[in-house]
């Protein structure tokens, strides 16, 4: 993208954007924006975006058609963020309006058209803004700003007419414990994974023999399906607790959070170990030799020179692991490990899609925020030394 095109946003049309814009607009016309059901059980009537009241709906359609075609990334990205906000605004307003007509038992669910609008604008926003290559602190600031805006709308009750929020009100306690359970699973597996993975990675870097022994094992662990992993862990853990009953008081059990934490830890090892190896391998040999020659101890060299120089690559591994485990932790609910998976599986059991969404959306949000934050931290670490 040339600077000239950025200055004159309408001069050219992004060819690739047409591929997205045409089906997005067609989808917005054909798919319901919201679904209105008289109660939780029966199937509902579609509400299309073009049926929604006011000029804003027309503006939304036009924007979905035109914004992706703008070739200036700043304007395209900015208007796309506005597009997401517009979708969220419309969905709250329409839900309240329909609820007032249809009565308190009615359920207003999000429709395919809404998801399409949010997804296409969000993609266009991410693509446009990332082309501007904003510095890491600005990225963090923008993310915080958008999160704060969304949080304010959420708390102020803007979305309260939607069935997913009704579902939240009915399950607020379960939601809170799912949230903390999820964070516990992700954080509680990351710390032991680092405690094992960093020294193991350092050893694998230094010794080909360690590398030959450890990496294939970690590869096998990584490719073991999660259900199988839980099964494999349940038996020995149950036996262990039977043999040492005191462990039960510490919360160890064949089912629950213990096998889930162990499984997530095992899944974390391969990315952390391989990235630690790569991080140490990327340290310039001269930096290491200079440190030794200046009289640094092995420990001093590790802390002052090797770890800081390897940190960006090691943290890339941490980012992979965190995002991976935010997703994987959902499965932990299958064996009573807690987390947002409990809401998802309960919703699937009751065929209550809103409850499934109530478990899924926070997972998606956590993963996105974790990616943005960790990427920014990595870029800050690299700093000016490139």
């Amino acid at each position: 993208m040339s600077a000239g095109a950025a200055a004159a946003p309408f001069r050219g049309i992004e060819g690739a954007a047409l591929v997205f814009a045409v089906p997005a607009v067609a989808g917005l016309m054909a798919l319901p924006f919201l679904t209105v059901r008289p109660n939780r059980i029966v199937s509902g009537d579609p509400l299309y975006l073009w049926e929604a009241a006011g000029g804003l709906a027309v503006a939304a359609l036009l924007a979905a058609a035109l914004v992706p075609l703008i070739s200036g990334p700043a304007l395209r990205g900015g208007l796309s963020v506005a597009g997401v906000a517009l979708a969220l605004f419309l969905v709250g307003r329409e839900a309240d309006a329909r609820l007032a007509e249809a009565g308190d038992l009615a359920r207003i669910s999000l429709g395919g058209g809404f998801w399409l609008m949010v997804a296409s604008f969000a993609l266009a926003a991410a693509e446009g803004l990332s082309r501007l290559e904003p510095p890491p602190l600005l990225r963090l600031g923008l993310t915080a700003l958008m999160a704060a805006a969304f949080g304010t709308a959420l708390v102020s009750g803007w979305f309260d007419g939607l069935s997913i929020m009704q579902e939240y009100r009915a399950n607020a306690g379960a939601f809170r414990s799912a949230f903390w359970g999820h964070l516990l699973l992700v954080g509680g597996s990351l710390l032991p994974a680092l405690a094992i993975g960093l020294p193991l990675g350092r050893a694998c870097f230094a010794s080909p023999r360690w590398r030959r022994a450890a990496i294939p094992i970690l590869n096998i662990l990584q490719t073991t399906p999660s259900i199988a992993m839980f099964g494999l862990l349940m038996v020995p853990l149950a036996a262990l607790v039977a043999a040492v009953p005191d462990l039960r008081r510490l919360g160890v059990a064949g089912v629950g959070a213990t096998p889930a934490l162990i499984a997530l830890t095992l899944y974390s090892l391969l990315p952390i170990v391989t990235n630690t190896v790569a991080g140490f391998a990327a340290i310039p040999a001269q930096s290491r030799e200079a440190g030794r020659a200046m009289g640094m101890t092995r420990r001093g060299l590790l802390i002052q020179v090797e770890l800081p120089l390897a940190a960006p690559i090691i943290l890339t591994g941490v980012r992979i692991v965190v995002v991976q485990n935010i997703g994987l932790a959902a499965i932990a609910a299958l064996i009573g490990g807690g987390g947002f998976g409990t809401l998802i599986f309960r919703g699937m059991g009751q065929t209550a899609m809103d409850l499934v969404l109530l478990g899924t959306l926070p997972i998606v949000a956590l993963a996105i925020v974790a990616t943005i934050v960790l990427d920014a931290v990595i870029d800050l670490l690299k700093g000016r030394r490139r």
Partner: protein, 327 residues
């Protein structure tokens, strides 16, 4: 003083350094020269125990280096690494402060020392102190590398190809700068290089190495006048040895104090009144090699020597030729 005796390093079946012995007096600069793989870098790296010797002893100021705790030994020896090796995640100031920090100097003393060194190497502390190595030119990085090695005022400085990978102009400039600093501080230096010109320029004595052995060691002029048959002869290069010998001497050594009739100083230049020609005069810091070149260019029998705008003497062609002539 550095005393090396019977130093040997074997890697498996190959002998990288073979029974090397030499002494370096305080304040002296010794150059180890030779082709790649001759063992000169390995020899250097045994002096601060980056490599442990297979046999032989090294004593620095009378102490056997194997008896000194490793970190203490290295803190006391400055080391300029091949390819600079600045820490990319630290600023210039932090890089220079490496050894003083390891020695737990207090902050004020470190800051003062960093500023002093940056100024010594003609880098403005305000401009360069907070820069990262990647923001510097090659010549600036080399300067910082040498400054870092000298930060804790080591009595011994080891340098491995310190001015390699620089363009000739920058390299010559840095060599001049380093020579002046070394003379002023009286640091004992062992310099590894494959560049004979660099060795002649900076070293008091030169040791020529091949296949792990020192073939000949001696004052630079001795190596030119009486090179050993074979490798040394070939490596030192005898085609222009007269000029190289001249480059080891300054004009002040042979200048005659009497003034030649008919010269007059005018605006920094000397005018020959008979012909009216302007002659660029010699300065006391010029070498006889420069004098010889200018004598040939001017077609003169002698050139004026001017110091601080005053005509102080003359350098005669016949005296220059005599210095460069075989014994």
């Amino acid at each position: 003083m550095i005393e090396v005796e019977g130093l040997t390093k074997r890697f498996g079946a190959t002998t990288a350094v073979d029974d090397v012995s030499f002494r370096v007096e305080d304040g002296e600069v010794l150059a180890l020269v030779g082709t790649s793989g001759c063992g000169k870098s390995t020899t250097l790296r045994m002096l601060n125990r980056l490599i442990d010797p297979t046999e032989g002893t090294v004593r620095i100021d009378g102490r056997d280096i194997m008896q000194v705790p490793l970190e203490e030994l290295r803190l006391g020896i400055g080391y300029v690494i091949q390819g600079v090796g600045l820490f990319p995640h630290w600023t210039v100031a932090r890089n220079i402060a490496t050894v003083p920090r390891l020695m737990r100097w207090d902050r004020a003393r470190i800051d003062a020392r960093v500023r002093e060194l940056l100024e010594l190497f003609q880098l403005d502390p305000a401009e360069f102190g907070d820069k990262y190595p990647a923001q510097l030119s090659g010549g600036q990085q080399q300067r910082v590398g040498v400054a870092r090695a000298m930060a804790a005022e080591p009595s011994v400085l080891l340098m491995d190809e310190p001015f390699g990978a620089l363009d000739p102009v920058t390299r010559a400039h840095l060599q001049d700068e380093f020579e002046a600093i070394q003379r002023r501080l009286g640091t004992t230096v062992i310099l590894v290089t494959h560049d004979m010109d660099e060795a002649f320029k900076l070293a008091d004595r030169i040791a020529v190495m091949d296949t792990g052995r020192i073939l000949q060691i001696g004052r630079s002029e001795l190596l030119l006048r009486e090179p050993q048959e074979g490798f040394v002869r070939q490596f030192v290069g005898l085609d222009d040895r007269a000029l190289r010998i001249l480059s080891l001497h300054g004009v002040a050594e042979i200048a005659t104090p009497h003034k030649v009739e008919g010269w007059e100083v005018l605006d920094g230049a000397v005018v020959d009144q008979a012909s009216g020609r302007r002659i660029l005069p010699l300065a006391p810091s010029d070498t006889l090699r420069e004098a010889a070149s200018r004598i040939i260019w001017e077609g003169a029998d002698s050139l004026p020597l001017v110091e601080a705008g005053m005509l102080v003497g003359a350098v005669r062609a016949e005296d220059v030729w005599r210095v460069g002539r075989r014994a």
